[in-house]
């Protein structure tokens, strides 16, 4: 059952994105079947969010770890990408300083802070986009799981983690651009970010990354590791008496999930064109959890579905009912939790007799 829904999901994502790519690049603007570039970036953003949702579902749906700070890993990946994109601007910034990004110039930085070194190399930056979230998750998770912090307590300290990072990144003295974050990117891997082909390329890359993450996640949860993980979720102490160490299982999946979130963030930034501390805000993490709940917890595909549905709804409502969209969103969350405990995917499965 889950195999089938995964394949459908991957098929849909790849075919849909492929179709959009072709329709965007091969038809002229205004043609009847033309997909506007606006839609390309938008779907790219949804799919990046879907990767984050997938990461959340992996730890929450299968590991029982309700992380209310997962957006932090997403943002860390995004910052790594943002730092690369800023360095890539080179001397084309408004001040024409070849070494220092604009915000450093007008805040009177004399030299590049040491931790900015290396980010001019795309490979290094991409590596950092997964290593930094992984490292933060490893350190945080090691201490948290070893001392058996669980349930609400864990949720609250993950929130404290992202809140602390939020405050830290807001500080201008940190050298990450403070509240303004990083914007005005020009190129990625030497290709102009404004070009349609680059945008399509990023969308396709995001779709592929999402599918790969989905496959990895699917493998992990169906492996014996995944079975142990589910056992840990449902009865942690029992697994312990069976000789398993739940903390290493949780830690492993937490780090894996942070890596996925980091990848999502790194793909998100070039498509939306900005990374700023707001991405660390606890509300973002809670929203990611909500996507998963809306789609269906512990189903992987549901997470993807939820992220796309909620964000598409948000796009639509903020444009169509700017004054009332929060009501719509709020009621959606309440209704889903009250009426659809298994999410939209659960509803679909019920309607189709559990085949999807």
């Amino acid at each position: 059952m889950s195999r089938l829904s995964t394949s459908i999901c991957i098929g849909l994502v790849l075919v849909g994105v492929g179709l959009m790519a072709i329709l965007n690049l091969s038809t002229a603007a205004g043609a009847p079947l033309h997909v506007p570039t606006y839609a390309i970036s938008l779907v790219g953003k949804y799919l990046s969010y879907a990767i984050l949702a997938l990461a959340v579902d992996l730890v929450w749906g299968y590991g029982g770890i309700l992380s209310l700070g997962h957006a932090a890993f997403f943002a860390l990946g995004g910052y790594a990408m943002g730092m690369y994109l800023l360095r890539e601007i080179g001397p084309r910034g408004v001040y024409g300083n070849a070494l220092l990004p604009d915000f450093m110039v007008f805040l009177n930085y004399k030299a590049l802070p040491w931790y900015w070194n290396g980010f001019n190399h795309p490979a290094f930056a991409m590596a950092m986009a997964v290593i930094v979230p992984a490292l933060v998750a490893l350190i945080f998770g090691y201490f948290a799981f070893r001392s058996r912090v669980s349930g609400v307590y864990l949720s609250i300290i993950t929130q404290a983690l992202t809140y602390a990072l939020l405050l830290a990144f807001f500080r201008n003295d940190m050298g990450f651009g403070g509240n303004n974050g990083m914007t005005d990117f020009k190129d990625i891997f030497g290709l102009p970010l404004q070009a349609d082909s680059t945008r399509v390329g990023l969308l396709v890359a995001t779709a592929i990354a999402l599918c790969l993450c989905l496959l990895v996640a699917r493998y992990v949860v169906t492996s014996r590791f995944g079975q142990v993980l589910i056992a840990v979720r449902d009865s942690e102490s029992r697994t312990r008496f069976l000789g398993y160490r739940p903390e290493s299982y949780k830690l492993f999946v937490f780090v894996l999930s942070a890596i996925m979130a980091g990848i999502g963030g790194a793909l998100y930034v070039p498509q939306v064109g900005i990374i700023n501390p707001g991405e660390f805000s606890p509300a973002n993490s809670i929203e990611a959890v909500i996507w998963v709940a809306v789609g269906g917890r512990g189903t992987l595909v549901g997470a993807v579905l939820g992220a796309v549905l909620v964000n598409a709804g948000k796009t639509f409502f903020t444009g169509a009912f700017p004054e009332f969209w929060l009501f719509a969103l709020g009621f959606l969350f309440i209704l889903v939790t009250l009426l659809l405990p298994k999410g939209v995917l659960g509803l679909l499965q019920k309607k189709t007799g559990g085949r999807v």
Binding site: F143, I156, A160, Y163, V289, G330, L332, T337
Partner: protein, 547 residues
């Protein structure tokens, strides 16, 4: 550059001038009242566009002995003094009374005033200082000892050597010990600020300032340079002693700040300690319950402003029970319509209540608008009291007291009433409680209502120190959860200790690390602490709150 700039003017000039004039004219004042037409018209300066001229005019007016002087100065202070320069000759100076004007010079009703020609007298901070000085200088000889003491304090702040003769006369006449001490301190300050006095006199003055013992005395002493040897030595000794005292006070002050911040955290978290701590409901709309309380306060004040302005001082006392009811009823409704379907699924509650918080925020935004609403501070809560080197603001002190009362009441309800007993019974063993005939659904609703109501009361307090806006609750929700978790879920005492600890630690870190870094350090410390003691400072044992 524009009008009104006068590089010659100096802040203290007006006071200086005023004091000098006072000194000369005081005997006159006592014997024969000066006649207005003897002196040049002091009113004319009030019509000027130049602030310094207006300020000088006020100083002159204050000492002119003109029968209308006091009324005129009072009118400027109240923004009621107007100028009509339309006619030929000297401009008319008018005091507005309701819809009509009174000629300030004569006190007679002015007729034939064309509203378009009338402009208010120009006031800025310099003018306002002149007004204060005008009242202050005269106040050194006021009938009331308190007023005299305050006037002396003003002279101390300005420490103008020109005031010395006046102070000497005032001290000689002074009977009240407090006022006299203040005047002597002012005298010492003024003496040191100038070059006069023998070394012995100056050393004695330093000693007086050292006895005063506060920051102002220290900064004054530190600002003195090029003193003779014995004086310089005395100053050095005095400043180092004052620095030690200051350090001691600053520790105490930080403790007060910490307790005050702690009370705010405690109030914000107290309701959550019930809904989350006792019931285990992760209520993300808790902040919005606080917000409802703040808006209730706003509504109460609106009604009072329009219907019974005299009651304004009592507005908060009226708001507290109302806020409790409004948020409490909202809480009961939320429990009945939403939460009760989600018991045993804490994480779903989190999501649904998050949705609810979005709705409540947007709802308030639609009804009250998105901008801040004004909630006034009653007179009795304004200002501060100085106790040694400790500055205690009334509003903070009130909030501390309020927090103590709320927590005490909450504990009394939980421990002393049958409702509290039932609440504890239901949360500890639902089935057993039900078997004993307790209507558990009703108790759930009431418990949730109680927690929400307490949050509403917190809203009344927060309306006094923070913005009353739809975002009010958002700012406190994370902190509240931290406080409850740090203290140990389900333990009210834990919440109290935790709030105070976080408040004080935060305030002690702030001077070293800055506000932002301080908060980050506290958060990280909290994360590490939870890992050492996963169930907070005071974990409850054998409880089914978790899982």
């Amino acid at each position: 550059m524009g009008w009104g700039s006068d590089p010659e003017g100096d802040v203290m000039v007006s006071i200086h001038r005023l004091l000098a004039v006072l000194l000369v004219s005081l005997p006159l004042l006592a014997t024969s009242p000066a006649r207005a037409d003897d002196a040049p018209d002091p009113f004319i300066g009030l019509a000027s566009q130049n602030f310094d001229i207006v300020a000088n005019a006020i100083s002159a007016l204050a000492v002119s002995g003109h029968p209308q002087a006091a009324a005129t100065i009072a009118a400027i202070e109240a923004d009621n003094l107007y100028v009509d320069a339309a006619g030929d000759g000297a401009p008319l100076i008018l005091i507005k009374q309701g819809d009509s004007y009174i000629d300030a010079r004569t006190g007679q009703k002015a007729s034939d005033i064309n509203e378009d020609d009338v402009d208010s007298v120009r006031v800025n901070n310099a003018v306002r200082r002149a007004i204060e000085a005008a009242k202050g200088g005269l106040d050194l000889f006021a009938a009331d000892a308190d007023t005299r003491q305050k006037a002396a304090e003003k002279v101390f702040t300005s420490h103008d050597p020109a005031a010395l003769p006046l102070l000497a006369r005032a001290i000689a006449a002074e009977k009240d010990a407090g006022a006299k001490r203040a005047m002597q301190q002012a005298q010492a300050a003024s003496l040191l600020a100038g070059d006069g006095g023998s070394d012995a006199e100056r050393v004695a003055a330093v000693a007086i300032l050292r006895l005063r013992g506060d920051v102002e005395a220290k900064s004054l002493l530190q600002s003195l340079h090029d003193q003779s040897k014995p004086v310089a030595a005395a100053i050095a000794a005095a400043t180092s002693s004052l620095a030690r005292i200051e350090q001691l006070w600053s520790v105490l002050q930080s403790v007060f700040y910490g307790i005050s911040l702690g009370s705010v955290l405690l109030l914000a978290a107290a309701g959550l300690a019930i809904t989350f701590g006792v019931m285990g409901v992760i209520n993300m709309a808790h902040g919005e319950m606080v917000m409802l309380g703040a808006y209730t306060t706003f509504m109460v004040q609106e009604v009072i402003r329009t219907h019974a302005p005299g009651l304004f001082g009592a507005s908060l006392f009226i708001a507290v029970p109302l806020a409790f009811l409004v948020s409490g009823i909202a809480g009961i409704l939320i429990e009945r319509c939403m939460i009760r379907f989600l018991y045993g699924r804490p994480l779903e509650t989190l999501l649904a209540s998050w949705g609810l918080s979005l709705i409540l925020q947007q709802g308030v935004r639609s009804i009250f608008g998105s901008s801040n609403r004004e909630v006034g501070t009653p007179e009795w809560m304004s200002g501060a009291v100085q106790w040694g080197g400790l500055v205690i603001t009334w509003n903070r002190l009130t909030i501390i007291v309020f927090a103590v009362i709320v927590i005490a009441a909450l504990m009394a309800v939980m421990r002393g009433t049958s409702l509290g007993l039932r609440m504890r019974a239901v949360t500890q063993n639902r089935r057993m409680a039900a078997a004993m005939g307790i209507r558990t659904p009703w108790i759930d609703a009431l418990t949730f209502g109680l927690g929400s109501g307490v949050a509403g009361m917190a809203g009344v307090a927060l309306s006094q120190i923070d913005n009353v806006s739809p975002n009010l609750g958002q700012g406190y929700i994370i902190d509240s959860f931290m406080v409850v978790v740090f203290g140990g879920v389900g333990n009210l005492w834990g919440t109290v200790v935790s709030a105070m600890t976080l408040g004080i630690v935060n305030k002690f870190l702030e001077p070293f690390a800055g506000a932002v870094l301080g908060k980050i350090v506290v958060l990280i410390a909290l994360i590490l602490f939870i890992q050492r003691k996963p169930r907070g400072m005071f974990p409850l044992k054998g409880r089914a709150v978790e899982q």
